[in-house]
Subunit: 257 residues, 2 copies
């Protein structure tokens, strides 16, 4: 496939030093000119948070041919916003985020900074894709998934994405069997806060917990694809409206005394 | 309408001291027993962020008959998670959040901590509603909307909500003409970062900007209802999948060499 030189914006939520970011840069540079704006440290779990109460700083990190990177003290969404407003000379052809160290499948999309940045790219009407590997280790092995991630970027550049839609891509550990397009799995985190007492005799809590799958064996979810060894792709909407519920709720009694 | 005594969890993103929170507590106490867990300070723009890198603290703030409140050093989503895991003796009948000082209509739902908490309540499968007033002032006048907000809570308790669906309620300034159930408006923030230089000669940026409506006059959006003087309700889905796009994207060439 012939690929014209593209402009690619990359961010992540594990920070500028993360191995997964370096791997995504490695893939992206084959497509053209790359701008990276990534948090200066880990901003996991930042969702689509924006920094409103503090100023944000940008610092040039690296510059080579067709490649520039910046670290940013803000959130992943701040990184995308700053790139669009302060750094890009034209709209990029694609926004990519990751590769996240750890799964962003199912309900994790709501908490994920990786996917927060992707949704921000989509709000800017640029094709946007988030990549995650189901391995949270700092030295996770991204190699087996890279050829698939490259194809997903190539196909996104070639086909575009439906209006208001971005992609949530998750890869299993090890050699994937292929790619499966699925819906967002239904589940939730069951929190198990750990209560500790500090040296001043005050309590504090660490968040922990486990994921509870509530799909009862459905075979059309991202989590099912991952469990079967496939890379999952979920097309994600910026419009969160439950359009079917509008007529139902219109029948409620709001306006009578 | 006869209302049985309910258990109500309240949070917000403007913090435990906000006037909007006091107004929502005032409405909620008519329905039953209230537990408040709110950020100890403003956590605006926190979206569905969770605190993973730091521990979180809870502090009892007030306790009277059928009413207990806590301040929390975490995000609005942390507040909901801690309430469910550490403080509630049973699942609440409803989770309500707000009243936010400022609009959370349209694309603001993605950045809103108020709505982040509501989506968390919905992930916990409890009927959840977020309330916002289109006035960001600390002493905003919530009075004209309170009777409508009370009815929305009463109707939510009476009817329940469709599975995986919560409500984003926004009120205009002044006396509302009534309530309108709408879709999420299409638009985005046009950022206008303000660059300044600190006393050490380093640059920093403040986020600012304005909202750009991209709906071209559609009359079925939340923003249109607000502009016409109505309170808008948008039913919001936890499942962000673009189900229609799955078949399209399945035709892409992922698996061939």
């Amino acid at each position: 496939m012939e690929i014209k030189k593209k402009k690619i914006l990359i961010t992540n939520d594990d920070g500028i030093h993360a191995k997964g970011l370096a791997e995504l840069i490695d893939i992206a540079r084959e497509f053209g000119e790359v701008l990276v704006v990534a948090p200066h440290t880990s901003r996991s779990g930042m969702s689509k948070a924006i920094t409103v109460d503090l100023p944000v700083r940008l610092k040039k990190y690296e510059e080579t041919a067709n490649f520039t990177s910046y670290s940013c003290t803000g959130t992943p969404v701040d990184c995308v916003k700053l790139a669009f407003h302060q750094l890009l000379d034209r709209t990029p052809d694609i926004v990519i985020s990751g590769i996240n160290h750890g799964s962003n499948s199912s309900v994790n999309i709501h908490y994920s900074g990786t996917m927060g940045a992707v949704i921000e790219g989509c709000i800017h009407e640029v094709p946007s894709v988030g990549f995650s590997l189901c391995d949270h280790l700092a030295d996770a092995d991204f190699e087996p998934s890279k050829k698939y991630f490259k194809r997903i970027i190539a196909e996104t550049l070639r086909n575009g994405l439906p209006k208001g839609t971005c992609l949530n891509v998750n890869a299993p550990k090890g050699e994937p069997k292929g790619v499966a397009v699925r819906r967002q799995g239904h589940g939730r985190w069951v929190e198990e806060f750990e209560r500790r007492t500090d040296p001043h005799n005050e309590d504090y809590f660490w968040i922990t917990g486990y994921y509870q799958n509530l799909d009862n064996g459905s075979d059309d979810t991202d989590n099912h694809a991952l469990a079967e060894g496939y890379i999952s792709i979920v097309p994600i909407l910026v419009d969160m409206t439950n359009h079917h519920a509008i007529e139902t709720i219109k029948k409620w009694h709001f306006n009578e005394e």
